[in-house]
């Protein structure tokens, strides 16, 4: 407990140092960068009334973040619904692995900024295009981790399945899925992180309400302090999401 308190204090010191660096930078070499104090003054209304809706693009920060989170949740769900079975198939079949692994390795590094226009052409609406982009970009860690999890199932377990003559369904539910679960969850955690990265780009390009959309709008309105507000919000939410998945993962390993 004492140690945790000490760690927390150290983290606060780190935050204070970075804040000081920010203040000094804005006061000296980068006059366009709003100082921490100015950022707070101009953003106060968004933080103090986090659920307020004053207009389509003028809403409390939590309300904006919740739009983004909801969009991420849908895209992420789509990603793991497609990615998990795909990973299982690639892990179980050498044929499929050899057939599709090179393609996946080519698709994996493509930026969301590249996929989004294609989504807009295909769906002609910003919302499905955003989901398409999030799913497509965040799917790969799930696919690859699940695949590696399946490939790492010990031969012992395969022998047990063979010796007990388990049906394919029981093989899947009693051996494959439980053996792969920790790998799958590591993949989900990475995928969720990616989905949150993608959301900002997707909202910026489509101009939909959300943290990313707000950020872009305030850039165009030259209210730079709100950009910093959005950046901080994105970081904090991303950190919280990763921690949540970490806790879920730890629970799973303990079970």
């Amino acid at each position: 407990m004492k140690k945790r308190l000490g760690n927390f204090a150290l983290a606060l010191v780190g935050v204070a140092l970075v804040g000081a660096l920010w203040a000094i930078t804005s006061a000296t070499i980068a006059p366009d960068l709003p100082s921490p104090l100015k950022t707070w003054e101009e953003s106060k209304i968004y933080v103090m009334q986090p659920w307020e809706k004053r207009g389509e693009m003028d809403q409390g920060i939590l309300r904006m973040a919740s739009y983004s989170l909801w969009r991420v949740a849908k895209g992420f769900l789509l990603a793991i619904l497609i990615g998990t079975p795909l990973g299982f198939i690639l892990g179980a079949s050498n044929l499929f692995y050899k057939m599709f692994d090179p393609t996946i390795q080519v698709l994996r590094p493509i930026s969301p900024l590249a996929w989004l226009p294609l989504g807009l052409i295909l769906f002609r609406q910003s919302e499905p295009a955003a989901l398409f982009t999030i799913a497509l970009c965040s799917m790969w860690p799930t696919v690859i981790n699940t695949m590696q999890g399946v490939r790492a199932i010990p031969q012992d377990y395969h022998n047990v399945a063979k010796v007990l003559r388990l049906s394919p369904w029981r093989r899947l539910t009693k051996i494959w899925i439980p053996a792969t679960l920790p790998f799958m969850f590591s993949g989900y955690r990475l995928s969720l992180g990616l989905a949150w990265l993608v959301i900002v780009a997707a909202e910026m390009l489509t101009g939909t309400p959300g943290v990313g959309g707000f950020l872009w709008q305030e850039y165009n309105s030259l209210i730079y302090s709100h950009i910093l507000l959005c950046i901080l919000t994105i970081g904090i939410v991303g950190f919280a999401l990763d921690r949540l998945m970490g806790v879920a993962e730890a629970r799973l390993r303990a079970a």
């Binding site: 012992d156 022998n159 063979k162 388990l166 009693k174 051996i175």
Partner: protein, 276 residues
């Protein structure tokens, strides 16, 4: 025709011959052990006979039919327990029972699983996960799982190899008791590197020579009354003869490789009467 027949079996992995010219028969109700040094191909032999691994050459038949896959009438106990860590002891056994007796109701399947867990002395630990059990207890679960499907033939792959000497001795007696209590005579083929363990449990023992291209020695019958006590076997004349004879089979390959003279080997054998 014998219950289990192995004819001219050979197995190679690439250019490496593991087994060659192995012939073997076994009757129903017999407990047969194969002893051999580690890495002599014992486990490969058992995996082929049980249908887990295909042979390179030769044939295995069980009850007159060729063995191509692991038989529904067989069960196997692995050296490393091979329990599923996310299932409790009961669930591990029940997984086997469910597959073997799909016609049973859920209650009957539970009863069958519990009955065998009680038989191995784990009645109080049925809801524990393997990670909460000691090595000996894990192997008891594995033994219960094998017996619970009431197999016609039981394959034992160094079942006690991973246990300490004390636990090993207890579980050997436990296995002997399980075999004698079974509804019908248990047909069992055990692989072991421990000659005393083989003498304690078997009706017949064969030695697997040293690889590469290992083959089986003639069978050594064990005509000692069951149940047998491990400490008495240490001094029993017949047991000593069997032990010496098997030791000779097991070391023959090693000595010839070291190019020791055959005369030395036969001189050694004259000191102990060979007829078992």
């Amino acid at each position: 025709m014998a219950f289990l027949e192995v004819t001219d079996l050979a197995k190679s992995y690439g250019a490496r011959d593991v087994l060659s010219g192995v012939n073997f028969t076994m009757e129903e109700g017999e407990f047969v052990s194969i002893v051999g040094a580690s890495a002599s191909g014992k486990t490969t032999f058992l995996k082929i006979v049980s249908g887990l691994v295909p042979a390179t050459r030769g044939q295995v038949t069980m009850g007159g039919a060729a063995v191509t896959d692991f038989s529904p009438q067989a069960a196997i106990v692995f050296q490393n327990y091979s329990l599923l860590p996310w299932l409790s002891a009961l669930e591990n056994v029940r997984l086997a029972v469910e597959a073997a007796f799909p016609q049973y109701s859920r209650t009957q399947q539970n009863e069958q699983s519990e009955k065998y867990l009680k038989m191995v002395g784990l009645g109080g630990a049925i809801s524990k996960k393997p990670s909460q059990l000691s090595g000996g207890m894990r192997q008891r679960v594995a033994i219960a799982r094998a017996f619970a499907v009431e197999p016609r033939v039981m394959f034992l792959d160094e079942p006690f190899g991973a246990l300490d000497a004390l636990t090993r001795a207890t579980l050997q007696q436990e296995l002997a008791r399980m075999c004698s209590q079974a509804a019908r005579p248990v047909t069992a083929l055990m692989i072991t590197n421990n000659v005393d363990e083989a003498i304690l449990l078997s009706d017949r023992i064969l030695a697997l020579g040293r690889g590469p291209a290992a083959s089986l020695s003639p069978a050594v019958p064990v005509n000692l009354a069951k149940p047998r006590a491990a400490d008495l076997l240490m001094h029993d004349d017949q047991a000593i003869r069997i032990r010496n004879r098997l030791a000779e089979f097991l070391t023959a390959g090693a000595e010839s490789r070291k190019s020791l003279s055959r005369a030395a080997a036969s001189a050694l054998s004259k000191t102990v009467p060979l007829e078992a």
